[in-house]
Amino acid sequence: MSETKDIFILAIESSCDETAAAVVKNGREVLSNVISSQIALHTLYGGVVPEIASRKHIEKINQVIEEALDQAEVTLDDLDAIGVTYGPGLVGALLVGVAEAKAIAYAKKLPLIGVHHIEGHISANYIENKELEPPFICLVVSGGHTHLVCVKDYGTYEILGRTRDDAAGEAFDKVARAIGLGYPGGPKIDKLAKEGNPNAIPFPRAHIEGAEYDFSFSGVKSAVLNYINGCQMKGIEYHKADIAASFQKAVTDVLVGNAMRAVETYGLKKLAIAGGVASNSSLREAMKQACEERGIEFYYPSPILCTDNAAMIGAAAYYEYLNGTRSGWDLNAVPNLKLGER
């Protein structure tokens, strides 16, 4: 690598409620990673409001990009390419980043690289684990996604399993709302669960017949809601911490179980996790333990790289850049973009 030129990529991410920009060198060195979060704004509505998110993106995007360039101590003239998330996500939100990235790339005559949001999450693992290379299994868990993926090579993915209904993070949000914790639910349940008994309530673990890597979380979510209703009807006081801990354990068990089955079946010795829920402490602990028992290397990003961010998009864009991927000026936002499709 020392003989080749360094590659600097400006990456932009606006698929949901974070406006983010980053400068990444050679795919693995983060020179800046700026995130403008809108969480406080959406808390008023109990979840992300697409139109409000889009309005906030357009308001903030230039400042976020300029800050990313400043922190990285580079100018647009130092860049080799622009990477941008073009799906999946909220279409109106994605379009802000896509239009902005296209205009900058066009004006500076730079290559434009459309990046899949999930590919970004997976690639977040490359940033802090310099030795990690494909092939490996990656579990992507967030508020919008639950995917079990075999990363065969840079940019080559096989989706082994996905959720049939709610994403794991979505189930966390709904349960958090039901027990009055508010939005966003993941970190709040994680915190409360530490005070509860994970074996107090036997919530169900869904296994899907004939699709051993798929997930379903609407059942466990409904079981929690039914349990709370039942207690209220009978006038019994319920323990929120026990609910949080038992629910979290039920979700974690399924995530770990499917991931371990994939690692064993594919004979791979490396497992990574990614996405917002990957910063859940119980999931990390359980996955770490399961990997240790089987002699598998376990990789996970820092919390700041688990949440939606642009550094991960820069990492993914770098490998797409090396693969020769170039997007046209007609690049559009694709809200339901499939992993591995272009």
Binding site: L44, Y45, V49, E51, I52, S54, R55, H57, I58, E59, I61, N62, Q63, I65, E66, L76, V91, G92, L95, V96, G97, V98, A99, E100, A101, K102, A103, I104, Y106, A107, K108, G328, W329, D330, L331, N332, A333
Partner: protein
């Protein structure tokens, strides 16, 4: 002075380059493809056709609203990205003003109408017989209210905009003043009109930075509106 103008506020996507004397290039598309697919490709074609060096543009003008929320953001994000990369100022042109500016020399009043859904139009009332006069600045109102305003003024009025076919029946029924409709080459957004108006803005120093620019929606989001209504009810 050269101004690059963009308009993606409605169904039309438009790109134009103007200077103080003339329109150098204008490209208008009124087709079902999204602005995200068309706008930058159109700019690329204009640039190639007239050998334009974007660095030599003095400002980037954009139809900044009202209009389709998503369309406005595609235009604004494109203008913001260009402005940042080229280090040029932006000029925000009110969409309805830009529409009215199409009809120089029109006798009587000019009334652009854009379909704003929820039985409303984005509209305004203008005169452009000699100088460009804004009699009622752009607003979102029910068509009936607009008809009332026009009847009260008692003057001939010329309509244009994509709201005309949508509300034509209501206009025919409600208007008591003489009216006519602009012909097809003048009755939709045109980036050259945005550019021409921007020339006057540029001379008046009405510029903004790419970072501070954002669209003018003239409306809060549905979620905010419903929340305000809930709060009002609970008071």
């Amino acid at each position: 002075m050269r101004i690059l103008a963009l308009d993606s506020s409605g169904l039309v996507a438009g790109v134009a380059l103007v200077d103080e004397q003339q329109t150098i290039a204008e490209y208008t598309i009124n087709y079902k493809k999204t602005h995200s697919q068309t706008l930058l490709s159109m700019l690329d074609e204009v640039v190639k056709m007239i050998d334009l060096n974007l660095e030599e543009v003095d400002a980037i003008a954009v139809a900044a609203g009202p209009g389709s929320f998503t369309g406005l953001r595609i235009g604004s994000a494109t203008a913001k990205g260009l402005g940042m990369a080229l280090q040029k100022p932006l000029i925000r042109i009110p969409t309805v003003d830009g529409l009215a500016y199409n009809l120089f020399g029109t006798k009587g009043l000019i009334c652009p109408m854009m379909d704003a859904r929820r039985s409303q139009v984005y509209t305004g009332i203008y005169r452009f017989e000699d100088t460009f006069e804004i009699l009622e600045p752009q607003m979102a109102v029910p068509v009936e209210e607009l008809i009332g305003k026009l009847n009260a003024r008692g003057e001939q009025v010329t309509f244009l905009g994509d709201g005309v076919p949508v509300y034509r029946e209501l206009l025919l029924k409600g208007l008591t003043v003489p009216y006519r409709f602009a012909p097809l080459h003048l009755n939709r957004q045109r980036a050259a009109a945005v550019g021409a108006l921007a020339v006057t803005y540029y001379k008046e120093g009405k510029l903004e930075t790419a970072a501070e620019h954002q669209p003018d929606y003239l409306r809060v989001s549905q979620a905010e509106r419903e929340r305000a209504e809930r709060e009002q009810k609970s008071v």
